[in-house]
């Protein structure tokens, strides 16, 4: 009984319809939050006493960097579920995650570089955090490359799943790199336990922005997921129904 939800989530037509219903909710909520964060972050929040207005890059850098890590984790978990329980929908989730994650990793790198020039005086240094984030991008690209080199989706799913799972070791490395090595990069400015290390007026837009980007990711994921689920269904009668018209 308790496993029925699990089976339903593994059922392509159910997921396809559910994703279709949920997409606008996540999408619009994300839109509202992001617009709010933009206004709050660019206009209301006061300039930083050290970094001036430059700190406002944080409102795009931190959420995208966070997404890059979170998406990889989702992808690895989905891949593991798909591999272990042989659930097609889970593989579809992993496949849908990769391009989104790769693009936000690239954006995190770019915004970080644009952040670095005024703050550290250079676009790029070979610092552990920066390097490991670059490697994360390579992992995403390798994952997508491996996927695209198989003709058969089922094989691509399973092979790339192994890579996603193995590559997940990089995620804690990125996250803790600032702790494990002495780094130019900012340490953790948010923590659930200790007291926040940045001022509240600056923190609110950051939280709004992070939540907004996360919801945005889910919305895009759901759209992609529908596509990936369709590609994996052959000759099922429900496909004919949903693609009619």
């Amino acid at each position: 009984m308790t496993w029925t939800w699990f089976h339903r989530l593994g059922s392509p037509p159910y997921i396809y319809r559910l994703a279709g219903i949920l997409t606008p909710w996540f999408g619009w909520l994300a839109g509202v939050l992001l617009v709010g964060a933009l206004y709050d972050g660019l206009v209301i929040a006061p300039p930083d006493y050290q970094q001036g207005d430059g700190f406002r890059i944080m409102y795009v850098h931190v959420p995208t960097a966070w997404l890059s890590l979170m998406i990889y984790t989702w992808m690895a978990v989905a891949a593991a579920v798909g591999l272990i329980w042989r659930i097609k929908v889970a593989h579809a989730v992993a496949a849908a995650c990769a391009p989104i994650g790769a693009s936000f990793t690239a954006v995190a790198l770019l915004t970080g570089m644009l952040f670095g020039k005024p703050m550290w005086g250079t676009y790029w240094v070979w610092d552990p955090r920066l390097t490991s984030e670059l490697l994360l991008l390579f992992l995403y690209l390798g994952y997508m490359g491996l996927r695209s080199s198989f003709d058969d989706l089922q094989r691509a799913d399973r092979a790339s799943a192994v890579l996603a799972i193995v590559g997940v070791v990089n995620v804690p490395i990125v996250h803790f790199s600032v702790v494990w090595w002495n780094s130019l990069h900012q340490g953790s400015s948010l923590s659930l336990t200790g007291k926040d290390t940045i001022a509240t007026p600056m923190l609110i837009p950051l939280l709004l922005s992070m939540l907004g980007f996360t919801l945005y990711f889910v919305a895009v994921l759901l759209v992609r997921l529908r596509g990936e689920v369709l590609r994996r269904e052959r000759a099922a009668s429900w496909v004919a129904e949903v693609v009619a018209t």
Partner: protein, 208 residues
């Protein structure tokens, strides 16, 4: 050995967009040869590989001695030999070395057993030459020696007569007949009719 039995139910398999196996059922017992026939592209190779577990089945189940093979893959694999379109030989090793490592991985072998098997398949004369220097048919004969040596109940053969001369065609028939007599079973994709005791021969025709 109690009579072995291979059974498959409702096998479905896609290759990319192509529905190749559309609900194949089969049942072969010890002492029987199932000959797979069908036009080029009908799915003979695909079916053999799927039975061996080398192709991913979308639906359907395979039973070995009434046990689902997924429950004991290693046990099932230990009971079968699959020979594909190309003989699985290392070109830098001699025939004897190839057999020592390939079949030796399955069961302990003596040198005399290898020599005997090579003799049985007409490969005695070139067992000590690197496989790379053998002709296509000579290579096939070395691979057949491995089949004999493995001494397993289930043979899965994909066009085993390829590259063999007329004497070689009869060799295949002799090998299969002996195998069936010993209680083994075989599934072979062959385009022309094999001269095998008709009471032991069954046919499965795949349609493209």
């Amino acid at each position: 050995m109690s009579a072995s039995l291979l059974r498959a139910e409702n096998l479905h398999l896609w290759r990319a967009e192509r529905h190749v196996l559309k609900g194949v059922d089969l049942r072969v017992r010890g002492g029987e040869l199932l000959q797979l026939t069908g036009a080029n592209g009908a799915g003979k190779t695909t079916l053999l590989r799927a039975l061996a577990g080398l192709n991913h089945l979308e639906a359907g189940r395979v039973f070995w001695n009434d046990q689902d093979v997924r429950e004991d893959r290693a046990g099932f694999h230990a009971a079968l030999v699959y020979l594909g379109h190309e003989p699985p030989l290392k070109s830098d090793l001699t025939g004897i070395e190839n057999l020592k490592y390939w079949t030796g991985m399955r069961r302990p072998l003596t040198d005399s057993a290898i020599a005997e098997a090579l003799h049985a398949t007409g490969a005695a004369g070139f067992g000590t030459r690197p496989v790379r220097t053998l002709s296509a048919g000579q290579r096939r004969r070395v691979a057949l020696a491995g089949l004999v040596l493995a001494a397993v109940p289930l043979w899965l053969l994909d066009e085993p007569t390829t590259n063999l001369d007329t004497e070689g065609q009869q060799l295949i028939e002799r090998l299969v007949a002996t195998h069936l007599q010993d209680g083994g079973l075989a599934i072979a994709a062959v385009h022309h009719r094999l001269a095998i005791d008709p009471s032991r021969l069954r046919e499965l025709n795949l349609f493209a």
